[in-house]
């Protein structure tokens, strides 16, 4: 499995959705999904999307620097490790961040996010 190609495609889709229409991220999470956002733990697609849409900025742009991926086990899961910059509209300096996703296959041939952990990288 070329996990890198799948991972890059997922990452592009995730962040372009985040940057254009944050509510649409609901399609990428399920009830069992878990997000830890700057240490704050949230469970389930509804609560996760509520958290992400309530973040204190309207417009943002993710600029991805690195994407690493590995298969996570026999169930076809994939771990994706991302680093990049988050530019908030109106802010002079971008924020640096790292994020990991654990993706699990759906019966329809795509992936959903089972585990999601996000951290800003302070200088």
């Amino acid at each position: 499995m070329d996990s890198d190609a799948v991972a890059k495609a997922f990452v592009e889709h995730y962040y372009s959705t985040f940057d254009a229409n944050r509510a649409a991220l609901a399609n990428l999470y399920q009830d069992a999904s878990m997000l830890t956002f700057e240490g704050h733990k949230i469970m389930g697609s509804q609560n996760i999307v509520a958290k992400l849409t309530a973040l204190p900025f309207h417009q943002c742009q993710h600029l991805i620097t690195t994407v690493d991926s590995q298969p996570s086990g026999p169930a076809g899961g994939m771990l994706v490790f991302v680093s990049g910059n988050l530019q908030l509209s109106g802010e002079q300096h971008p924020l640096r961040f790292s994020q990991m996703f654990h993706l699990m296959p759906t019966p329809q041939g795509s992936f959903y996010v089972l585990n999601d952990i996000f951290r800003l990288n302070y200088a």
């Binding site: 069992a32 771990l79 680093s83 790292s98 990991m100 654990h102 200088a123």
Partner: protein, 125 residues
Amino acid sequence: MEEQVEMVGKAFVDHYYHLFDNNRTELVSLYQPTSMLTFEGQRIQGVDDISAKLNQLPFDQCRHVISTVDSQPSAFAGGVVVFVSGCLQLHGEEHPLRFSQMFHLIPTGQGSYFVQNDMFRLNYG
């Protein structure tokens, strides 16, 4: 249940970096033949190759200072994903390197965990 996963993550992270900083050759005990490491984009598989990579890094002494540890259950029976950020101080270098690392831990069956997946990246300023 959540608390337990966080405890596992923190205990593992303490143990891992203590070994790394004090007895790097012993890190091999935390990997198995199916283990995978991606180190600054380079993919390495299996105990021998991972051990060789870590033992051949171009510094003898180092110290990891951990800033954050986040853990979640991974859906594999008892598996845990752990996400770490911190600084790596190399002996003789003036400024520490910032890094992030993620581990996917699988229970060994004897009450401990091994590293099935490991990805490391430096965070450049």
